[in-house]
């Protein structure tokens, strides 16, 4: 069967890219600077949405797309409004279980800009940020080490005290013995 060449959309396909916005996501934490946290601990960290260079306000939504077993957004269903030339903080809670935890997690938070939806073809933008989480037991180990030092120090003081006590006590006994001999 011979195929007919039927032009579509009046011969020209125009895909209008609507509202490819220019926002950015900042954080204190990245590959070389992970969040340090202990087992059983809960902390709140923030990522920052910025629209510093934009001339129009932007709306964005956030989702946790990785590490959701330890991370949750404080306001999960919120649409963040980032005014032009401003920044907005996005708080996130990290909780590490006391037991059965991993040494390292990577929390992935994704921000997606809301597109205006104009034109036949909408192209939105999103930014994914990885927040490395380093679980460390150093505080507990340090605590144990401190306890060991405390025990050694107490033992040392007790021994020294005992020796001083014996040193002070002995001469008195001898004096008593000498007195008894003299009486005899």
């Amino acid at each position: 069967m011979k195929m007919k060449n039927i032009p579509i959309i009046l011969g020209i396909l125009i895909l209008t890219l609507s509202s490819v916005s220019a926002f950015a996501v900042s954080s204190k934490y990245w590959d070389e600077n992970p969040v340090i946290i202990s087992p059983g601990e809960t902390i709140t960290i923030e990522t920052i949405l910025q629209n510093m260079a934009g001339s129009e306000n932007i709306e964005a939504t956030a989702t946790i797309s990785g590490g959701s077993e330890i991370a949750k957004l404080m306001e999960p269903s919120k649409t963040y409004l980032i005014n032009a030339a401003e920044k907005t903080n996005v708080p996130m809670q990290i909780t590490i279980p006391k037991e059965n935890f991993q040494e390292r997690y990577v929390v992935v938070i994704s921000f997606k800009s809301k597109t205006a939806g104009e034109g036949d073809f909408s192209l939105g933008s999103s930014i994914e940020r990885e927040i490395p989480i380093q679980v460390t037991q150093i505080p507990q180990e340090a605590e144990q080490l401190n306890r060991s030092y405390q025990i050694i120090a107490i033992l040392g003081i007790v021994i020294i005290g005992l020796i001083i006590f014996l040193l002070l006590k002995k001469p008195k006994n001898k004096k008593k013995k000498k007195k008894i001999i003299k009486k005899k």
């Binding site: 039927i6 204190k28 510093m52 073809f121 994914e128 014996l166 040193l167």
Partner: protein
């Protein structure tokens, strides 16, 4: 008496390690040779002591959560004081300077200004504003404040550091893509334009697309399917095939941090979209993302 002696000996042995010097140290020093040890000499020639710098980094602009996205610069303000035992008049104000350094990065630096009304007999305060760029690497930067006296005795303080946070961001253009006439069953139809992405942050990123089907607005049983498109870093088709509602990393695409305003490819990446194949059953109508939602251009690690 003997018992006392034993107890005393034990006590001395216990207490001995707490002493800072050993008993034998005295004998070790008796070598018969002249003693050899460094001696600090202070020779003071009028106005010869270099100023001493104190950094007030606790008051500096906090950039630990990231710099501004490009093309906006981030002004980092800091103050330091310089004192000179020969008097404040011995300090050369015009030599006050501040640098931020990090291995592998361009040095950010500026001259500093005297803060009027904050001088004392021997010291003066200076304020400095260093511009940092959006592509300056995250991590630890060293502060280097310097000043000289009027006799050109230089002094610097590099004892403090500060942290720069990580920012991921991008812009893209143009705002529309066009194709020439598309016929049903046609293949390898490249868009007339390509998308240029600019890295507005200080992290190197990969580029991903999440595509949807462009369905007919009149007859939605017909569609330009997501899988029929590809994205490439060079002109031409046969790029990375896109997938329906799934992020696909564009092979070879990398958005490196850098000064994209040079428009020479630094901090930039071009993406070429191609309609690899148009279905043979397409009819003449408008095809749109309205029904399935927008495509998404994503940057990730």
């Amino acid at each position: 008496m003997k018992i006392n002696l034993i107890y005393t000996s034990i006590l001395i042995l216990i207490l001995l390690p707490f002493a800072t010097a050993g008993l034998t140290d005295f004998f070790d020093k008796m070598t018969g040779k002249a003693t050899n040890q460094p001696v600090n000499l202070e020779v003071s020639v009028g106005g010869g002591n270099a100023p001493v710098i104190t950094l007030y980094d606790n008051l500096m602009t906090d950039v630990s959560s990231g710099l501004n996205e490009g093309p906006l610069l981030t002004s980092v303000q800091m103050t330091f004081s310089a004192s000179d035992s020969e008097g404040r008049g011995n300090i050369n104000d015009s030599t006050a300077y501040l640098k931020f350094t990090k291995s592998g990065e361009a040095t950010r630096q500026t001259g500093c200004s005297l803060i009027g009304g904050e001088t004392t007999t021997n010291s003066a305060n200076y304020t400095c504003t260093v511009d940092m760029y959006w592509w300056d690497a995250p991590g630890t930067w060293t502060i280097n404040a310097s000043i000289s006296d009027i006799n050109n005795n230089p002094s610097s303080n590099t004892t403090r550091t500060f942290s720069v946070g990580a920012t991921a961001g991008f812009t893209s253009a143009p705002n529309s893509l066009t194709w020439n006439t598309i016929n049903p069953g046609q293949s390898n139809q490249e868009a007339n334009e390509f998308i240029t992405l600019n890295n507005t942050g200080n992290l190197d990123r990969n580029i991903q697309f999440n595509a949807t089907n462009l369905k007919g607005t009149t007859d939605n049983t017909k569609a330009l399917y997501a899988e029929n498109f590809s994205a490439n870093t060079l002109a031409g088709c046969e790029g990375t095939p896109l997938a329906h509602l799934s992020f696909q990393q564009i092979i070879g695409a990398s958005l490196q941090r850098g000064n994209y305003t040079l428009s020479d490819g630094t901090g930039q990446e071009n993406i070429f979209i191609c309609l690899e194949a148009a279905n043979s059953d397409l009819t003449q109508q408008t095809y749109s993302t309205t029904e399935e939602g927008a495509w998404t251009l994503n940057i990730a690690a």
